[in-house]
Symmetry: C2
Subunit: 374 residues, 2 copies
Amino acid sequence: MVTIKDVARDAEVSVGTVSNVLNGGRVSAGKRAKVEASIQKLGYQVNTLARGLKTQKTDYVVVILPNLSNPFFSLILQQLERSLAGHGKQIVLCLSDGDKEKERRFISLARRNKIDGIIGITYSNIDEYLDDSMAFVSIDRHFHNGIHLVSSNNFEGGRLAASILHQNGSRQLLSFQTLSSLNTEVRKRQQGFEAFCIEKGLSYSSMTFSEDQVKSVYSSFDSRELISRALKLYLTDVAGRPKVDGIFASSDHLAVVICQEIQKTGLRIPEDVQVIGFDGLRTLNQGDPLVSSIEQPVQAIADTAVDMLLRLLQQQPVANVNDLPVRFIEGWSTRPRPAPGPDQVCGDSGEPNRAAGCSVPGEKTQKAPPRSAV
Amino acid sequence: MVTIKDVARDAEVSVGTVSNVLNGGRVSAGKRAKVEASIQKLGYQVNTLARGLKTQKTDYVVVILPNLSNPFFSLILQQLERSLAGHGKQIVLCLSDGDKEKERRFISLARRNKIDGIIGITYSNIDEYLDDSMAFVSIDRHFHNGIHLVSSNNFEGGRLAASILHQNGSRQLLSFQTLSSLNTEVRKRQQGFEAFCIEKGLSYSSMTFSEDQVKSVYSSFDSRELISRALKLYLTDVAGRPKVDGIFASSDHLAVVICQEIQKTGLRIPEDVQVIGFDGLRTLNQGDPLVSSIEQPVQAIADTAVDMLLRLLQQQPVANVNDLPVRFIEGWSTRPRPAPGPDQVCGDSGEPNRAAGCSVPGEKTQKAPPRSAV
DNA sequence: CTGAAAGCGCTAACAA
DNA sequence: TTGTTAGCGCTTTCAG
């Protein structure tokens, strides 16, 4: 292996001088040229291990993600890679499967390896394992105040979904979400959804599954059955009339599954029921046209996370960001919307809420319905 | 930071002894216990940078992939991570966008950082940049003999696709593939397909696009237009009759797009045209049922690649593997097949393919109903 | 079995 | 500006 010493000898200078040309120190033009020539000639490459040992830093950033089966995570990872590569940083990938113990091991590993910092979508309250020496940026999962967070405007996203469904004529809304118990940020989608309904006096209901229960929605179709049965509770009354005519799902993947299950019952989308998902990933939405969705600005999320991490590494103060703008993407699962006029008249025409009695506003099913009920 | 020296002092032994307990050397039980107690007490963690500087190795493996927009790559990466983590190795992720220059930089980076080895799906003939000091395992891309390769049995996959189409009654076959010019391994899908057709005396045609032309099929829908026009050349004659009644696509993603474009023309799938894709990813196939496909054993590919790399790192001899078994997954885009009997009678009974009516179980509305229908 | 000591390749003081 | 040198934390001889 060719070392800095070899270069120094070849260029007839000291190692200090070589180090200086490597690191942009002050070197006379003549010596610099000689050194660079020698580097070229010998094919010298710095040994980053040795450099890191000295400086106690590397150019690695650990990225912790639950898995890559969910295309949202894949896309986040892809954008993070591009963004970090632009800053000369490499990603060390850690897939946690949502396992707290694994997450903790990754953090320990990061410390052992003198990793510069961590960006992650995590399930556990990992700041317990962190100290000041480790910069950490959390995407989409807000635990408590010690942790730096970036996310899109989940509240507004939920609100937007409800408002679109309503504007398009849906009157009996249902929110269907999967959630990690520690995840307060994604929960805001639900809160935004509810806020709109309450504001407008709409009847709505919601179903929340823990991510454990439907975890496999991303890796298999086992949870399809669970979703299907849960849906049936809400879809129609005994007379076969739709009890619910607008559904907000907390992910596109979920939305697609919901659409399929609805269609199996004979109900038509979007004529009988409208569905809006969340994430807005085109790579997920294979179909053409796409499932209607609230799009998250993945690129902006990744860029912001990287930017925050870099600031953290330079000891600069950073503020949390949780209002990256979302937008509605019209797809096949909602009714066509009028081109946005200059002064849009809202569809709130005081129409009475028929569907007497089936959905109490604020009714919450926090758990899966009893399985025997189906 | 607590170092090995601190531990030595606390345990009242020498650093050499501490190092020995760390690395499984011979240490008396008494001293070992004392050292371990001190490690615990002080919260000591090895500095892998220092260790690496000494040993010239790390526990990092670089994984080079074109992108993560193609779910096949995401899934490969996920499996690689699991497999490598099981061997105590970490992944340094490099997304190349198929850019040879980037790939070269990654290899240079790997060398600078004393990375143990590289596993990758690459587009360039990267062994030009490699020397003996760098272990490399290529997935799915075989360049020339110097490189260690693992892939599924692409030839058999193509052959299987043709044979299924044929058994199910298709007589005019078309193979539609995208290909990197350097990729001789995926090319075998086409070769297997052709081999079957020639053997059976079937008429067939094939279309090959370079991955540059349709690169965006994985990240956007720009290439849809190109595919659509190319398809129209083959689909029907002037009388509107199908010229082609069985299509083999070189990826599922492509297959889905092809199905959609075919349906736009009014032809029915699988009654008029059968389509088989490649990869067999359930996470890609959102639909239920799935597009018919030749499934690659992603897990086995990843495990084999990791296994090969580890052998390489131990200087053990390794042989290429390019015959990992593929299998057909029946989906909605091919006609239903008889349950495989003990002595299967092939469906080549010259029966005219009248696809009477629409009661075929494979019938599926892939697209939203026309919006005007509301 | 244990300890002392010599580096691994590099950076950063410090002297010149 | 340049050269010299002392480590960064660890592994690994090599004596004892």
